[in-house]
């Protein structure tokens, strides 16, 4: 069978994947005050990986990213759940979140919130789940 000529797709993907991944991180961070957050950031991240799957094939990508996506999802939910427990350790209600401003080198006065950790968990859960679905549909021969 003749392989389709996809040189344009391959070339664009090399640039686009980087842009999408960067944008997903931007969405993730801006989610604290503006539209965005772990869920959308995670989905955008998954979109980039899916694009790579489509263009280069699942097997090629899996050689470089060997993580078990089910475990990624589980670790994500685990992180979220444990941030809730963290509030309990401080004598506050479950899921209690706190924030404070810290003077960091280079970044200056920065507000750090425990809600970000919760969101990291959400992002990992979304990435893990979405990629599990895509690989289990795509892998089936």
């Amino acid at each position: 069978m003749k392989r389709p000529n996809d040189v344009i797709l391959r070339t664009v993907t090399k640039v686009a994947a980087v842009i999408i991944l960067t944008f997903s991180i931007h969405l993730f961070i801006s989610g604290h005050h503006f539209p965005g957050g772990g869920f959308i950031g995670g989905l955008t991240f998954t979109a980039a990986i899916t694009l790579l799957f489509l263009v280069y094939g699942i097997d090629t990508i899996r050689k470089n990213v060997s993580a078990d996506f089910k475990a990624v999802a589980a670790i994500g939910v685990l992180i979220s759940a444990l941030t809730g427990v963290g509030g309990m350790m401080a004598g506050k209600p479950f899921l209690y979140q706190s924030s404070g401003s810290v003077n960091l080198p280079f970044l200056g006065d920065t507000i750090l919130a425990t809600a970000v950790l919760f969101d990291v968990g959400v992002a990992l859960a979304v990435i893990g789940t979405a990629l599990t679905i895509i690989t289990s549909i795509g892998d089936d021969r």
Binding site: A74, L78, A81, G84, M88, F94
Partner: protein
């Protein structure tokens, strides 16, 4: 009282289940950590019971967002008693699964799924927010969808399609009903709902919405709308079927009891009478099914339907005695249904058939199993001194006290049918000429008996020692009959 312990029964199975997903190849870890989780939940429940009996209903505002704005968890005696029984029953069913479920299913996340199911069940018991109740139902249902189809045998796939569809429809109706209720009252917190509905006097519109909830929970609890249940509960392997029979329908019953004792209790002439009529219908139809079939699985699944009818007959009476009986009977039924499913499942495992005419004289080969099945059969039908008796007495007294004589009569008559149906299994399978030998059996009882022994001991203990949990049952009944106790615990003074 603010109390972080309440989140324990929900978050412990979630965390341990997730850890097990990460370490998915270590099956020894899966077995012992999942047992450990149920033990931990049981201990927490005992601790909570102690705290409630001294300090009143315990409440947790998640993330510090106070009621009615955030999600509230409220642990009253009724909910915590159910959490405790859930932990005990799950412990026994998981223990039974060790030597019956098979490595294939274990590798495909059987134990984590059970733990997620328990998280959903406990969440439904402990939540004080009706939308959160919906979410916890979904957590439980999604886990049960996977569990019912886990293994992918032909029978399981056929039944799981029915099971998923019927639950999708009822979840959809649940969401619609919640939306109606929110549109009318403007709140989702159960305690706040109770106040708002009381203020408006529960007019016709609210009663209609309450009946929509009744339909939803009837589908989940298999009250009258049970036609999906006999098929779905006989498809999965014994350990899973036992967990389903013992827990899932009870969550529907709990939700119904909570809603119609805390929120929609102003028009019992309509709503509670309707529950009573549905209870009578499911007792009669369930009894017909249990008597008609000669398939062990069918007989015991129809027995689930009868007991749901009986529990809700006690609730429909809405009297002190009737509700006390309901609480006793509910706790008894969770334990004894697990016992019945596990012992009947063991019979099928040994003989390779569920047809009672094909087997006889099993008691010569397995006397312990036979006598424990006999005790389970007596307990299911409410023979003293076993645990079913006390609940049956109180429910019947309560129903007669509220002048629902027809309901009480049906309850007593179907009890006889229950006795007949389970004795039919016992006499056909265990009595008579032994037609099997130790060599022609399809399986062994190795490792299967200890959990059955534990549950049998429990049903005897609960029957003889009913006095021991009397104070807790009375606290639970008190909470169900006095919505103000719940409201005062959840809401601050200025909201009311």
């Amino acid at each position: 009282m603010m109390n972080n312990l309440i989140i324990g029964p929900i978050i412990i199975p979630v965390i341990i289940g997730l850890v097990l997903v990460v370490f998915k190849n270590n099956l020894g870890l899966h077995r012992y950590l999942s047992l450990f989780a149920t033990v931990l939940i049981g201990l927490l429940a005992v601790l909570l019971l102690k705290q409630i009996s001294t300090g009143g209903i315990q409440v947790l505002y998640l993330g510090g967002w106070e009621a009615p704005f955030g999600i509230t968890l409220a642990a009253d005696t009724f909910a915590v008693l159910l959490v405790l029984t859930t932990a005990i029953v799950t412990f026994c069913c998981l223990w039974y699964a060790f030597s019956s479920i098979g490595a294939e299913r274990e590798q495909h996340y059987f134990y984590p799924l059970c733990l997620f199911l328990i998280a959903g069940v406990n969440g439904s018991f402990l939540t004080g927010d009706i939308f959160n109740l919906f979410v916890c139902f979904e957590v439980m249902l999604v886990a049960s969808y996977v569990l019912i189809s886990l293994g992918g045998t032909r029978m399981q796939l056929i039944e799981s399609i029915k099971y998923v569809l019927i639950n999708m429809i009822s979840s959809f109706l649940f969401l619609v009903a919640v939306a109606y209720l929110y549109a009318i009252t403007g709140t989702l917190n159960l305690a706040h709902l109770s106040i708002r509905v009381a203020q408006s006097g529960q007019d016709g519109l609210l009663t209609v919405v309450s009946l929509l909830f009744l339909i939803v929970f009837s589908l989940k609890a298999a009250l009258f709308l049970f036609y999906w249940l006999p098929g779905s509960y006989s498809a999965p392997p014994t350990a899973i079927a036992a967990i389903f029979a013992a827990l899932l329908t009870k969550v529907g019953v709990y939700a119904m009891v909570r809603l119609f004792s805390l929120v929609f209790y102003h028009d019992p002439g309509t709503t509670h009478l309707f529950i009573g009529a549905l209870a009578a219908a499911s007792m009669v139809l369930g009894a017909l099914g249990a008597v008609a079939y000669d398939d062990i699985k069918k007989i015991i699944t129809y027995n689930v339907v009868i007991s749901i009818g009986f529990v809700l007959a006690g609730f429909a009476s809405f009297s002190l005695v009737g509700i006390r009986g309901m609480v006793y009977y509910l706790l008894h039924d969770m334990i004894v249904k697990a016992l019945l499913f596990l012992s009947a499942g063991t019979v099928i495992h040994l003989t390779g058939t569920a047809k009672i005419r094909k087997v006889s004289g099993l008691i010569r080969l397995h006397p312990q199993l036979g006598w424990m099945f006999f005790i389970a059969a007596l307990s299911v039908s409410g023979i003293p001194p076993l645990s079913g008796f006390i609940g049956k007495v109180f429910v019947t007294a309560g129903v007669f006290h509220s002048a629902y004589y027809w309901l009480g009569g049906i309850g007593l008559f179907t009890s006889l049918m229950v006795l007949y149906s389970v004795m039919k299994i016992f006499m056909n399978v265990f009595w008579g000429h032994t037609n099997l030998t130790a060599e022609t059996e399809k399986g062994t009882t190795q490792g299967l008996l200890p959990p059955i022994v534990a549950l049998t001991a429990l049903t005897i203990a609960l029957g003889l020692g009913a006095e021991g949990i009397h104070s807790f049952v009375d606290l639970a009944v008190d909470g169900l009959l006095n919505p103000n106790l719940y409201i005062d615990a959840v809401l601050a003074q200025n909201v009311k």
